[in-house]
């Protein structure tokens, strides 16, 4: 055991590899040629993945539940002691595997995708920096190290969204993402500070061991959890801070796959699952999460129905799936949320990479109305995309079925109404995903100017691996209903304290599954009839007359509302402060003192007429007055 323990201390290597990659590709960005940067970056992230896998086995065989590796003291001021330490337990190892595993695949894919871009070296440097930050986030042994990663990934996301910085709209999207994340981050950091004042520590182990003895519903813990939730809402793009995510699609597609689907946006889920003990103490926050999650899941899914940009559809789908994870968190089913996170990382990364492959083939075209008939021309992309679509729709035995079904059944236990709403959202998801699939791959090609072709092997290889994971990923956690042992959930439950214990009766569960499957089948059939049989191509924006569908097409005007309610008034406030308060009140007020002094001087000057007799008279009169004053007083 001792030997294994000493291996765990090597865990600093996991983030060190991508950091090294960042330094190499960043420093030598003017010297590296062709694909060198991409190859270096991919190898280092793969090494990091191997290291994570090694840690996973080391941890499992050591029989320990967790291990803390302290590198050095970061901040120590009085009783505030924040070591730069990593916590290796089942949850963090799971996340590390996802981050490095999916990350490595996406890095490899990017070699092909970014080939020929003149800033490809910067791209890989930033991707490696992102991986490093994300690893800090999931490995940190206290909230502040987590926060370093938390802000770091936000910053990398800013860089990568605005990667093609010549386009002002992309820069705007990047800035929007960063600022919205920062709003959440303020809540998060306040939560950390309150946490410190409450528990006198921000380390996970210290905080959680103290929290176990606290009573449920303590106002302070509720406040802390709400503040942490604000951070999670910003990072994981929930209502009301979700609008940055669809805009974030301005970045290169691998970025969307890595950051805005598989890893960064799930940071909020990870953080809340990590703080499960605290959240169990705050029923109010849990209810807020249920409402937020469900609202986001349905709202984003509805918007996704009418989007025509392939990446925008996937973006809203991501927001929606994150909503499901929040729902699961709110229900106390943390391990289900992390399970869905895992499968979602597989199939959503796959969908994005597939989309990237399609965009690549279509010469940069992203409008699905102009695609079509790609099934024959891009068979690998088609089959992998199909696998991912089936997975996200929740068709058994694909991975999404297991994870989503778990969340749905937990919702049913809590309240059948929740179940119905969540199922509705799932049906909508199924519909827009198949709409996408049919429009892109079926029918005939609608844009004649391009000649689609299958992507190079360096791009299809990650697709294949990810599709295998998407198909079979669900078997990690086969529920007892199908004779499994929920291994994944049990594994995680060593680091997470689940909020619920009861299990559904198997009869009810089978009923639920069968009914949902029938509905899913009907939806797929309906989508097939509209988009393949009738070949109904969505009309251009603004043509539809129906108010409701128009609202959906315009994303319920949320961006416009934010702009009118927040951005514009903020600008006017800035102008008001500068033009009115600063330039009309404060600055003149100071100048006024000077002006007043010189006015007073002008006034007194009148006494100085130059008449000597008057001076003498004034002098004598003054002396007399003075004497009289002394005599009287």
């Amino acid at each position: 055991m001792v030997a294994l323990n000493s291996y765990i201390t090597l865990s600093w290597l996991v983030p060190a590899f991508p950091l090294l990659g960042f330094l190499i590709t960043g420093m030598a960005k003017n010297r590296l040629k062709n694909n060198q940067a991409g190859i270096i970056a991919s190898i280092l992230v793969s090494l990091s993945f191997l290291m994570s896998a090694f840690l996973f086995f080391a941890l499992r065989s050591s029989g320990q539940e967790s291990a803390t590796v302290t590198l050095f003291n970061w901040i120590a001021a009085g009783d505030l002691k924040i070591p730069f330490a990593f916590l290796i337990d089942n949850l963090s190892v799971t996340m590390m595997l996802i981050v490095t595993g999916v990350g490595a695949l996406i890095h490899i894919y990017s070699i092909g995708y970014m080939h020929g871009d003149d800033r490809v070296n910067s791209f890989f440097a930033q991707m490696n920096l992102f991986t490093f930050s994300m690893l800090l986030l999931v490995m940190g042994a206290n909230y502040l190290i987590l926060f370093i990663g938390w802000e770091g990934v936000g910053f990398c996301s800013y860089l990568l969204i605005g990667f093609w910085f010549k386009n002002p709209a992309f820069n705007y999207a990047a800035r929007k993402a960063f600022v919205m994340n920062r709003i959440g981050d303020l809540g998060f950091i306040l939560g950390i500070i309150l946490l410190f004042f409450t528990f006198k520590s921000v380390g996970f182990t210290e905080v959680f061991s103290q929290a176990t003895s606290m009573h449920s519903g303590t106002p302070l813990v509720t406040l802390i959890t709400i503040l942490l939730l604000v951070g999670a809402v910003g990072k994981s793009a929930q209502i009301p801070l979700y609008t940055w995510l669809p805009d974030a699609m301005a970045g290169p597609t691998p970025v969307s796959a890595l950051i805005h689907a598989a890893t960064m946006v799930t940071a909020g889920i990870y953080m809340i699952a990590r703080s499960s003990i605290l959240y169990n103490l705050a029923p109010l926050t849990m209810n807020i999460m249920i409402i937020l999650g469900l609202a986001t899941a349905i709202f984003a899914a509805v918007i996704g129905l009418r989007q025509n940009d392939i990446k925008k559809v996937l973006a809203y789908s991501t927001v929606s799936q994150l909503g499901y994870m929040f729902l699961a968190l709110g229900l106390g089913a943390y391990s289900s949320a992390v399970f869905h996170l895992t499968t979602h990382a597989f199939f959503k990364a796959l969908l994005f990479l597939g989309a990237g492959s399609i965009i690549h083939a279509m010469g940069g075209e992203q409008d699905i109305r102009k695609m079509g008939g790609l099934r024959k021309k891009m068979p690998v992309t088609y089959f992998t995309f199909l696998a991912a679509t089936l997975a996200i729709s929740g068709i058994p035995p694909f991975s999404g079925f297991f994870s989503k079904d778990l969340i749905l059944s937990k919702a049913f236990e809590n309240n059948p109404l929740l179940y119905i709403l969540a199922l509705g959202g799932a049906l909508i998801t199924c519909f827009y995903m198949f709409r996408l699939l049919y429009l892109v791959f079926f029918g005939s090609q609608r844009l004649s100017t391009v000649h689609p072709h299958e992507s190079p092997r360096v791009m299809t290889f990650p697709l294949i691996i990810l599709s295998i994971l998407s198909v079979f990923g669900g078997f990690l956690n086969i529920p007892s209903l199908f004779g499994g042992d929920s291994r994944f959930g049990e594994f995680l439950n060593k680091s997470i304290i689940s909020g619920i214990t009861e299990e559904l009766g198997s009869a009810t569960e089978i009923g639920l599954i069968v009914s949902s499957l029938i509905l899913l089948g009907l939806v797929i059939l309906y989508a097939y009839r509209i988009y393949v049989k009738k070949a109904d191509i969505p009309v251009a924006d603004g043509v539809s007359t129906n108010i409701f569908s128009k609202a959906i097409e315009n994303k319920f005007y949320v961006d416009e509302i934010y702009s009118a309610v927040i951005e514009k008034p903020f600008g006017s406030l800035s102008d008001f402060f500068f033009n009115k308060v600063e330039n009309k009140v404060l600055d003149p007020a100071v100048d006024e003192v000077g002006i007043l002094t010189s006015k007073l001087g002008n006034l007194v000057r009148k006494l100085q007429q130059g008449n000597m007799s008057f001076y003498l008279f004034a002098m004598v009169a003054g002396i007399l007055l003075f004497i009289i004053f002394i005599l009287i007083v």
Binding site: Q608, S613, V620
Partner: protein, 109 residues
């Protein structure tokens, strides 16, 4: 020195005070109401000397010589001042051919 003091003390102090006030007032009136600059300077001297007189008287009555020392200082300062003052008057006469104080009305700002 003793004799002088006692000689001074022969006359009651009130008389000195009244005389000084009278001289001072005459001098002040002269300064205020005369227009001839030389007359004004002379009136100034009168005021100085009224003060000197008073200082001497008090000094003798208190048998404290420092008052008389001050008188010497004042006399020296007065001499210096009158030298400057008279030279200004001479310059004035040369430049504007008059010694009327009201012609010096550009001494402002």
């Amino acid at each position: 020195m003793k004799e002088i003091s006692s000689a001074i003390q022969l006359i009651p102090l009130e008389n000195y005070i009244v005389l000084s006030i009278a001289l001072f007032s005459i001098g002040m009136m002269g300064v205020l109401f005369r227009r001839n600059t030389i007359a004004i300077l002379m009136c100034l001297e009168l005021m100085f000397n009224s003060v000197n007189l008073l200082l001497t008287a008090f000094s003798a009555y208190h048998s404290d010589p420092s008052g008389q020392v001050f008188v010497f200082f004042i006399m020296i300062v007065a001499a210096a001042e009158i030298a400057v003052g008279l030279s200004i008057v001479v310059m004035m006469k040369r430049n504007v051919d008059s010694v009327d104080i009201n012609l010096l009305n550009r001494l402002k700002w």
